[in-house]
Structures are given as C-alpha cells and as structure tokens.
C-alpha cells in the first residue's frame, strides 16, 4: 500500500505570529519554521500503516525552498522519499489554490492513501483535506482519531461535536488525522543520517500543467483587503486572595451583570 503524506512548514505554534504589512501574508521569518504539528501525526500514522501493510511512504509539500527542511524531517522519521512543489509564483496561494496544486502533484504519484493533518496551526482553516478529496474524487475520511486498513477498506473513527462516527470507504481515499491520534516518533540519529540520502523530487508549475496566473496571491479566489494588529488587551484588576478571593470574583461578576 503506497501512502502520500502532505505536510506543511509553519511558524512554531508556541510563538507569536504576525502578518507582513506589505501584502498581508504570513511573516514566516518572525518565528522558527517547523513541521505543522498535526502533520507529524499524519507522518507517524503513515509509518505505522507501512509497518503492517508494506509499500512506500512519500512526503509531499508545497512551499518555498526552506520547506525542504520539513520533508527532510519526515524522511528522518522514516518516510522513503519526498516531493517538493516549489515555485516562486506559488507564494500567497489560498486554500482553494493550494488544494488544486496538491491534487495535481498527487496526480503524478501512485497512491492508495493520502494522509494529512486536519489543519495547519498557522491558517487554521481545516479545509484542505475536504478540498483535496473533492478534487481527487476520493472518499473523505477526516478528523480521524483512529485509522485501520483491512484489505482494500479503510476505516476511521471521526471526531464530531456530536460524538464519534465510524466511517469506512474503499481505497484509494483521503484521510485527515486529528490531534493526538498517536505519539509521533522522534527521528533517531540513524534516521537523520539516512534521510540525507533519500530522494527528493522537485516539481515546478510547468510539471503540473499549471501557469503562474492560476496560483499565488493573484490566482487565489479570496484576498485580504487589509490587516491590522489589534492593540493588546489591557490588564485589569488583580488582587491577592486573602481568604475572600471567591467572594471578590462574585462581586466583580455581579458588577458586570454576569450573576
């Protein structure tokens, strides 16, 4: 069974983020770049499935040159090879365009399963798994908290606001994994060394049959009119508990008409 894991390089989710005033795109230099945390679960899940079912795990990313670091990280965890869609004109692409590019790239690969994190910690839209499934015409199995493959059937437990749904479909399929589905492994020293020798293929727009005007800021179907940093919240009153802390909060809540 061949698996492609889509990963994204994002600013560290434990750091403050900001937009660039010039074009309202993410200021990627303002924080350390890391693999999107949710995608680490996707890589781990793919490697676990590979241990049982064999086949190859390919890492696919779209992003600037620097995003190759994220492919390398996934390869050091144990994936077999990488595909990097890189083209200066892709900068600023929205989710609709990103999903179109990824779908085209997936069209050049052999896969039974596409796995990705359910959202990126920068844009936080959580729409790309659904858009990819729509574009590929493949079953969508998203917000998965478990993934099992049995022959040509894939089954997940989908987390919803109503509870858990068990959903199954025939391969090939697109799986979006939820946080905490597994415990992602750390790359071993051996893994890091081995990753340096694993193949990473670069794909440009022309390789995907796309043109520059279909992608990037200009080709996107949505655009930012303006962005403004909000003034930070003003700190209010802080008191020390002298045995009446609860009563003081009650007084405050009453003054604000909450009780």
């Amino acid at each position: 069974m061949n698996i492609v894991v889509c990963v994204k390089q994002v600013p560290d989710s434990w750091a403050e983020k900001k937009l660039r005033p010039s074009d309202s795109t993410l200021d990627r230099d303002s924080a350390d770049a890391v693999m999107n945390e949710l995608d680490e679960y996707a890589v781990e899940e793919a490697l676990k499935l590979q241990e049982t079912h064999g086949g190859e795990v390919t890492i696919l990313t779209m992003g600037p040159e620097k995003a190759a670091e994220t492919i390398r990280k996934a390869l050091s965890m144990g994936a077999d090879k990488g595909v990097h869609v890189v083209d200066a004109s892709l900068a600023g692409s929205d989710a609709v365009v990103t999903s179109a590019v990824l779908a085209k790239a997936l069209g050049t690969l052999e896969w039974d399963l596409v796995i990705l994190g359910s959202e990126s910690t920068d844009a936080r839209m959580s729409v790309v798994p659904a858009m990819l499934a729509e574009r590929l015409g493949a079953p969508q199995l998203s917000f998965a908290s478990t993934v099992t493959v049995d022959g040509s059937t894939v089954r997940i437990d989908r987390l919803t606001d109503e509870g858990v749904e068990t959903v199954e479909a025939a391969l090939p399929a697109v799986v979006g994994v939820a946080e905490k589905i597994n415990e992602p492994r750390y790359p071993s020293f051996k893994g890091i060394m081995a990753a340096k020798k694993k193949p990473v293929t670069g794909l440009g727009l022309a390789d995907l049959g796309l043109t520059a005007d279909e992608v990037g800021l200009g080709g996107s179907w949505s655009s930012v009119v303006e962005s403004t940093a909000r003034p930070p919240r003003q700190a209010g009153t802080v008191v020390k508990d002298e045995g009446d802390g609860g009563t003081k909060i009650a007084d405050y809540l009453a003054s604000q008409k909450f009780i």
Binding site: L19, A130, E134, D241, G245, I259
Partner: protein, 317 residues
C-alpha cells in the same frame, strides 16, 4: 433583494444557536434563505421562522446523512448554481467548514473561514492568530462562501415566512463513497457546547489532576457554562481532548471566560483571548494569563473556586 443562503446546523431538527446568529447576519446582507439538510424539518421550522428565514430549502432524506460532509456540500453547491445567491453563510464548526470548503470548490467559489462579521459589501472580518490581528477579506471569484464563528453575532428575532421549498438532487458516487457504519454519541454532560457557550470555565495544570476538575465543573454548572481545558491538562490525560481550548483545539469567544490554574502560554491564549471578559485564578502572580485578565485573583483555585461557586449559588437564591 439579494438572497443569502444560511446552512442550518441542527441535530435531528433541533436548531443550534449559531444558525440564529447566521440568520440575523444574513438579514443585514439581504434576504435570508435557510438550507435544511437531513431529517426533522418540522421541529426546525419555527426556530428558522423566528430568526427571519423567508424561505427554507429542504433536502430531507437518509441519503443526505448516510455519509459525512459530502452530501450536504453537494446540496449546497447545487443551490449556489440554481438560485445564484449573493453569499452563503455556514457555521464555522469543524463539519461546517468542511461542507463549505467542498461546496466552494464544487461551485467554483472562493471561501473565507472563521469570520466574526460580514459587512454589506460582503467583506468579511476575521480575527487571526488568537485575536492579535484583524483581517478584512473578500472572495474574488464566484459566490462568496463564508463560515462564521459561533458567538460572533448577537441573534435578534424577526419573524420570517419560512416558506418550504423542497430540493432533491442526485448525489454523486463520491457523496456516498464513505459510509457511516457506526455512531457513538458523546456523553451528555448537560452543559452547553464549548464553541457556542456564552460562559466557559477552563482548568489547566494548576488543577493538579483529573479530580481537580471537580471544582471547575461545579463552578461551570453554577454559571451554566461549558468546561474547557488547557493543553497541559489534556496532554496529562486529566480531561478529554475534545475540550481543549487553544491554538490546537477549540477557539472560543464567550462573553465570560474563567481560566483556573492556566499559565497562559500563547498556545492557550490563541484559543480564548477574544473572549469579552476574562477572569483568572492562578497561584503564580507572574503567570502571563494575568496580562489579559479583566479581573484576576492570585490564589489557590481549590480555595477560590468553591467559595465563588457557593457565592453564586447563594446570590442566585
């Protein structure tokens, strides 16, 4: 007047609060038409009329709920093509965003998610990076599909006709390619849903263990609130992961947020700092969460919370 489609979020016809918020918003943009998919329209009808739905497109039948997301997206995309609305509004819930995403791609439309408001010019306002940045965005192609975060718009009643218009579509093979083969409903806590709640009480590392959530839950119940947890608490296994508030996890924006034993790392603040009023209880006076508190008490939550709960119960008489 321009027609605005609102996808109804409901559970067997019981309409969720976010739908009344979206209908209220839709009335400012044009004439609201609700889109009801699934079963239980008779239950839902009054609630939709009360918030001003002039028309309700009804796609009733088991085929629309046999698979997650896709059948709803196909109904919505069909309506976008059929009635050419000025915009489509969907609740910014995990499933709502997926339905909107697929409908947008299918209909050839741009999509904006997590809006907190939409102006008459269909410019959406979004609050990103945990509320530190405000963004105004538009859709530049097709019919704007906008998902709106629950609790962003104050619902206002205004009677509409809620005239029923039946919709039947031929679902694609893809729509039923994934089948729901089992359902396990979430344990009923009797508390409001986290994303929709107007009051949230959350516990973090400072609660000290799973049993430490008891005073958090008791305070929540006294306030009619939902219970949340920080990443530290869910990582430790003290509280279920679906209640996690933060950068990864749920984003909430209630009228009142009570953070107990939470230090306030950016991971957590990103999910709650747009709350209208923030009350903090923490032993550590240096905890960064105090920087965003409207009212804070430096103290042990195991003393402060029970006293607060007792006071609230007493004052409510």
């Amino acid at each position: 007047m321009a027609e605005i489609l609102v996808l109804v979020d409901h559970s067997d016809g019981t309409v969720k609060k976010v739908t009344s918020e979206l209908l209220t918003l839709a009335r400012r943009l044009g004439e609201p038409s609700a889109v009801f998919i699934g079963s239980g329209f008779d239950t839902a009808k009054d609630a939709l009329a009360r918030y001003g739905a002039a028309r309700v497109y009804v796609a009733e039948g088991d085929q629309y709920t046999a698979a997650p997301v896709v059948p709803k997206a196909e109904v919505l995309a069909h309506l976008i093509g059929d009635v050419s609305p000025a915009a489509v509004l969907v609740g910014s819930t995990p499933e709502g965003k997926e339905v909107a995403a697929r409908a947008a791609v299918r209909a050839g439309s741009g999509i904006l998610t997590d809006a907190i408001d939409v102006g008459p010019d269909l410019v959406a306002e979004q609050s990103v990076f945990g509320g530190s940045t405000l963004v105004r965005s538009t859709v530049s192609r097709g019919t704007p599909v906008v998902t709106v975060r629950p609790n962003s718009i104050a619902p206002e009643e205004s009677l509409g006709a809620a005239e029923r218009v039946d919709v039947q579509i031929e679902l694609s093979a893809a729509a039923t390619a994934a089948r729901v083969v089992g359902r396990k409903p979430a344990e009923r806590t009797g508390r409001p849903e986290l994303a929709e709640a107007s009051v949230v009480v959350s516990g973090g590392r400072g609660v000290g263990g799973p049993e430490g959530f008891a005073p958090v839950e008791q305070l929540a119940d006294a306030l009619g609130a939902a219970v949340g947890a920080s990443r530290a608490a869910t990582d430790a296994g003290w509280y279920p992961h679906q209640f996690q508030v933060g950068q990864t996890g749920k984003t909430v924006s209630p009228q009142l947020y009570v953070a107990a034993g939470i230090s306030g790392a950016i991971q957590h603040r990103a999910g709650m700092q747009t709350s209208k009023t923030i009350v903090v209880v923490n032993k550590d006076p240096e905890a960064p969460i105090f920087e965003i508190a409207d009212f804070g008490v430096v103290g042990d939550l195991h003393q402060v919370l029970p006293q607060l709960t007792e006071e609230i119960t007493k004052r409510k008489g």
